[in-house]
Each structure stands twice: as C-alpha cells, then as structure tokens.
C-alpha cells in the first residue's frame, strides 16, 4: 500500500500512533537535524574566520617586527658608511700632508680598511638578511632588491677595497694588500637562493666576481 493512501485511510502502521503523527515526527527530526547541521556549519565558519583573522593579525605583528629590524639595520649601515667616510677623509688629509710618514699612511689606511671590512660590510650583510626575510616570499621583489641594492653595493665595496690596494699603497709604500675573509663576503651568495633560476643565473656571475675580488684580487690581476 502506498504511503499517501495509508495516510488518507487513517490506517495505523505503528500501534496507536496515527500515520500522520508518525510521518510528522520523522519530518520534525529531519528539520531539527538540518537546523543542527546549519548551526554547526555556521559556528565552524565563524571559528574559521576567527582563526584566519588571528593568523592575519600574527602576520602583521611579525611583519612589524621585521620592518623595525630593517629600519634598525639600515641606520646601523648608514652610521658605518659615515664612519668609513670620516676614515677616507683622514687618509686623504694624511696623503696631502708633506709631514706624513709611511707609518701615518699605514695607520690611516688600516683604519679605513677596518671600517669597511669590520663594520660597513658586516652591517650591510645583516641588513640584507633582514631584507631577504621580508622579500623571500616574492621572487620578483627579491630580484628587484638584489638588482638595485645588493649587486651595486657589492660592486662599490669592491671599488673601495681596490682603491686601498692600488700600487701607490701596496708597491710604493710597501703595505700589504687588504683582503676580506671568506666568512665576511661569502654569505651574500645566500640571497640568491630565493631567486627564480633564470634570475639567479643572471646575478650570480656578477656577485661571485665581486666576492672573489673582495677576497684579494688586485687591480690588473
């Protein structure tokens, strides 16, 4: 017998309960179940949204810390570069002085070498590490950073070191060529690891050449 017919005939299929009551109680259960599912879904959606917001808030806090560190290390690098400028001026004053001895030139040159090798370059490397942390998620942004900041600055370091390794210092005044340790310059290569392979191939030769030069090659060698 079909269900509609049995409801219409008022036949009981479960003891004293009428078929209408029986089917209504099932419908009610189904509706309650659906409401329960909907509520569950809504609560889960709210919870997920709250979790996403929490993660975003944490990302903002982390980025704030990174930006603060970048600012801090940029200022340290600026100070180190200004210190180098003071040392170059002092070296030029010594060279212009008629009374300056070779020992005076050596002292002034050593001060400049120390300012570049022990202060400016390590400060720049710290800055690069923080900038890398900030930009590593975007290879395009990292590429711009390497192209416009890392590679040109390494080329400058090279020029500065080459300047104090010229024959006028090394041959004429018998001063030892200034060389940077591998630990000071090699870490700059790590910034290339975040680049796309073709970008890495573009920048690696220039940066490697600057590093090799900073490690001791002299002008004309």
């Amino acid at each position: 017998m079909n269900i509609i017919q049995s409801i219409a005939d008022g036949e009981s299929s479960a003891g004293d309960t009428s078929p209408l009551d029986y089917y209504l109680s099932h419908w009610l259960s189904a509706v309650l179940l659906a409401v329960g599912f909907a509520l569950g879904w809504f609560v889960t959606a709210l919870r997920t949204r709250a979790e996403i917001s929490k993660m975003r808030a944490e990302s903002i806090t982390e980025e704030g810390k990174t930006l603060k560190e970048i600012q801090h290390h940029r200022r340290l690098y600026i100070e180190a570069t200004r210190e180098c400028a003071v040392c170059v001026n002092r070296l030029m004053d010594v060279l212009r002085s008629d009374a300056a001895s070779d020992a005076d030139v050596r002292t002034a040159r050593d001060a400049f070498c120390s300012a570049v090798g022990d202060s400016a370059i390590p400060r720049f490397h710290e800055l690069v590490e923080w900038e890398y942390l900030d930009k590593k998620s975007s290879s395009e942004e990292l590429k711009i950073f390497v192209e416009s900041h890392v590679a040109p600055e390494l080329a400058r370091f090279d020029r500065w070191i080459q300047a104090v390794n010229r024959d006028e210092f090394v041959v004429r005044r018998n001063l030892a060529p200034y060389k940077l340790s591998i630990g000071t310059v090699q870490p700059f290569l790590s910034v290339l690891s975040g680049l796309a392979p073709n970008d890495r191939a573009t920048f690696e030769p220039g940066i490697s050449q600057s590093i090799a030069s900073l490690r001791g090659a002299r002008v004309g060698e």
Partner: protein, 89 residues
C-alpha cells in the same frame, strides 16, 4: 566585528612599533584604508601600507643611498689623489 577589531589592533600595534610613537586617529585611519586597498599576502599589504602612510622605508633608503654615494665619491677623490705623481723634493 570582532575579527576586524583583532586585525585593526594588530595593525596599530605593529605600526606604532615601526614608527616608534603612538599614531594619531587620522594616521590610523589612513593606515587601515591603505591596508584594505592592497591586494596580496598580509605581510606584503602591511609593509606597503606602512610605506604609503609614513614613507619611513623610503626615507631611510634615501639616507642609505646618500651615505653610500658620498663615500663612493670620496673614494674616487682618494684614487685621483694617489694617482697624482709624487711631489718633487
């Protein structure tokens, strides 16, 4: 909404840490507006919003470039100086 409030609070705290002072209401509103108008990851949007609102990164970047340019110019002077022939006694 509670979740927006959480993000706004994080924006304010992080920006104040970077800038190094408390933000005015106008600055905070500009920061929030700038952050919400950006597309991309949260960190990227925040750093761009900070740059756009305060220009701090650009400012120190210019100082860094200026300091480095100045030293480079001085080193060129040094090279020119040592390249001169020695003075005759």
């Amino acid at each position: 909404m509670a979740s927006d409030w959480e993000i706004d609070r994080a924006l304010q705290a992080a920006a104040e840490a970077v800038v190094g002072r408390r933000l005015s209401t106008t600055e905070l509103d500009r920061l929030k507006q700038s952050f919400r108008s950006k597309v991309g990851g949260t960190r990227f949007r925040f750093s761009r919003a900070i740059d756009e609102t305060f220009g701090i990164s650009e400012g120190t970047q210019q100082q860094k470039t200026a300091a480095s340019d100045n030293l480079d110019r001085l080193v060129t002077d040094l090279v020119n100086l040592v390249a001169q022939p020695p003075k005759k006694p």
